[in-house]
């Protein structure tokens, strides 16, 4: 039972990562949940399906739209959630020196081992040969599949000593600078939601779903 579910789970990961509709051992929770097919790991005990299966408790409260909006800032790979705003490469370059260079270094080469490189297209790394040489430096330019998630990450977590302090315009500007410095977009570019959504990252097609499934094969 457990092994079957495990395989089902792996297949689902593959399907979803390929962008296919989800299929697998999932049933809608709006209908009845069949414990025997969905709770393998809890079946060992007396409470098949987990304790309380089949019951709703009504705990919690309904959040306001504003509460959800405050936390729900994520921007996914298609950039559909990108907010209004815009910024130029030049604006981003100035912001980078003021707010980022103290950790990521003047030219984005980072400060090993704590602060990673963000800029760099080492010719030896072109072609995605990272498995052959651990010394090849991964950057936004050569190891980052979606431009929109640069925006997400910078807005979410940077600057390291003041996360959440950047305006959307500033995040667009920094994203523009980082993409231009990594030779992904032109040095005179301006980014807004529409422009950022069209940026294609080098090597985006090299990121593939997990193909390990357990069993005797070593992958």
């Amino acid at each position: 039972m457990r092994a079957c579910l495990s395989l089902g789970s792996a297949a689902l990961v593959l399907a979803c990562a390929r962008g296919e509709p989800a299929r697998g051992p999932i049933v809608s929770a709006t209908g009845p949940v069949t414990a025997a097919t969905t709770f393998a790991s809890y079946d060992a005990g007396a409470a098949a399906g987990g304790p309380g299966v089949g019951r709703r408790y009504g705990f919690g409260r309904t959040p306001t739209r504003a509460e959800v909006a405050t936390w729900n800032t994520d921007v996914g790979p298609d950039g559909g959630e990108l907010p209004p705003g815009r910024g130029t490469v030049a604006q981003g370059a100035a912001l980078y020196q003021a707010k980022c260079a103290m950790c990521h270094n003047k030219n984005g080469e980072g400060m090993a081992p704590v602060y990673p490189a963000v800029i760099g297209r080492d010719p030896k790394a072109e072609g995605f040969h990272f498995a052959a040489d651990p010394k090849l430096v991964k950057t936004i330019g050569n190891y980052w599949p979606h431009a929109t998630t640069v925006f997400d990450y910078v807005r979410r977590a940077m600057p390291y000593n003041a996360p959440g302090s950047l305006s959307n315009d500033q995040v667009y500007a920094l994203t523009a600078f980082l993409l231009a410095a990594n030779k992904v977009i032109p040095a005179d570019a301006t980014l807004d939601a529409t422009a950022l959504r069209t940026v294609k990252m080098p090597y985006a097609d090299r990121f593939v779903p997990d193909n390990r499934h357990g069993g005797p094969e070593v992958r």
């Binding site: 979803c16 962008g19 987990g50 593939v208 070593v218």
Partner: protein, 439 residues
């Protein structure tokens, strides 16, 4: 009052919360040990992300109380509010003094399978947040019928479960894989794994509570730390064995393990067990966050990088004898260590004492729980000659732990995560034990 084993914890906790004037528990020795530096009344090393050089200094030798020659002739110490280790036992993690980075579990100091909570390895990406549990909330929204905000009290009113599972960072063993060195300890070679009894509510219970829409296929889990850690998880894992936990080894989670709430995805790589959990959003596709694309992906020799490689392959490591231990005498002794699999139960551990020419079934001590550490033991009669000790685990899917050369072939030396090669220890004729990672 001085607690030698806490020296590094004091250094880690950040000096600002332990002003010397307000801390009668801190002795002069603690101050000298470098835990707190005071210059002109100002406490150094309190800026976010910036750590004073004094915090990186190694711990001072442990303080020990006067030891009577005959403990039966002297009345002992009174009871205490919180117990501490014997001053003769000083296992420590390996903090770097940085707010991002790791601190490894001293596997060589541990017995059994449960990792003491204060020795559970750490890996943070923006430091350990301080969170008031009364103000913490878990928001579940997106493709659900009833978006809901749960307080900690709400979460703890649901029927709870207690499960024992390991958490292993998928970077565990990187240094030993890429550059094995004789002076690596079990902690250095494999210390990014720990095993805990967790208590919490099945995520499936919360899914039923909010009502998942049929098209919900993935969820995003977000932490309340300064990088607002985000990872995408297939909904199937939530229906299977995922938990939202608040307790670890019988007490609330440690701050560095996600206090007050943590997502626990048994058997899956450490990073995706999002700490300080504050939000779960249901969606149709993965979010491709920085953490699941630019990080925590595995470059492969065919010029691709494997994403969403969440399941941890089966792994084992001998923790004794191991460097820097010295085998003191010929004759019988146990070879013991830990084995685990992210795909279920360990079914077999084999031990070799001759570099893999012959293998012997080890005993599994206690039940082999799914996605949990199990301790193994093989009794060995050392003849005083050189020996190479190896361990090899098999899990219930039939997966057998590979040699390093097999992994090098299929993953390359530069692959970034998931390192589970057979590793071992060379016992010299003088009894010294050296790490051997070149299997």
């Amino acid at each position: 009052m001085s607690r030698a084993s806490d020296d590094q914890d004091v250094a880690l906790a950040g000096a600002s919360e332990r002003l010397p004037d307000e801390s009668p528990g801190l002795t002069r020795r603690d101050l000298i040990a470098g835990a707190v530096s005071v210059v002109g009344g100002a406490v150094l090393g309190t800026l976010p992300g910036i750590v004073g050089a004094q915090d990186r200094q190694p711990a001072a030798p442990p303080w020990r109380p006067p030891v009577p020659s005959d403990p039966t002739r002297v009345t002992g110490a009174p009871t205490t509010a919180v117990g501490v280790r014997s001053p003769f036992e000083t296992p420590t993690r390996t903090p770097t003094g940085e707010t991002t980075g790791n601190s490894l579990t001293p596997l060589q100091n541990l017995t059994g399978t449960v990792t003491p909570s204060d020795l559970h390895f750490e890996r943070h990406h923006a430091g350990v947040p301080t969170i008031d549990p009364a103000r913490h909330a878990l928001l579940v929204h997106g493709l659900v019928d009833r978006p809901t905000t749960f307080s900690l009290d709400d979460i703890q009113r649901f029927p709870q479960v207690t499960r024992t599972h390991f958490i292993e960072c998928s970077g565990n063993g990187r240094a030993a894989y890429r550059e094995p060195k004789p002076d690596m300890t079990p902690q250095k070679a494999s210390g990014l794994t720990a095993n805990t009894e967790w208590t919490g509510v099945p995520l499936a219970t919360l899914f039923r509570e909010v009502g998942l829409r049929r098209e919900a296929a993935w969820f995003l889990a977000e932490g309340a730390d300064a990088c607002r850690m985000t990872r995408s998880v297939p909904v199937a894992k939530g229906w299977d064995d995922a938990l939202v936990v608040w307790s670890q080894n019988g007490e609330p989670l440690r701050p560095e393990q996600g206090y007050p709430l943590r997502l626990l995805l048994p058997g899956w790589e450490g990073n995706i067990n999002v700490k300080w959990l504050r939000r779960i959003e249901l969606g149709t596709h993965p979010w491709m966050t920085r953490w699941e694309t630019s990080k925590y992906t595995d470059p492969l020799p065919n010029g691709t990088a494997r994403m969403f490689s969440m399941e941890l392959d089966a792994k084992s490591v001998i923790t004794s004898p191991a460097y820097p231990e010295v085998v003191k005498a010929k004759g019988w002794r146990p070879i013991t260590g830990l084995a685990w699999s992210g795909r279920g139960r360990v079914t077999k551990v084999e031990v070799s004492t001759d570099a893999g020419d012959t293998w012997h079934d080890a005993d599994l001590l206690g039940p082999s729980l799914p996605k949990a550490h199990v301790r193994f033991q093989y009794m060995w009669n050392w003849d005083g000659g050189e020996a190479c000790l190896l361990s090899r685990v098999t899990d219930e899917t039939g997966y057998v732990q590979p040699a390093r050369r097999q992994l090098l072939e299929v993953r390359g030396i530069g692959t970034d995560f998931h390192f589970n090669p057979i590793v071992g220890w060379r016992v010299q004729s003088d009894g010294r034990v050296m790490f051997d990672g070149e299997t």
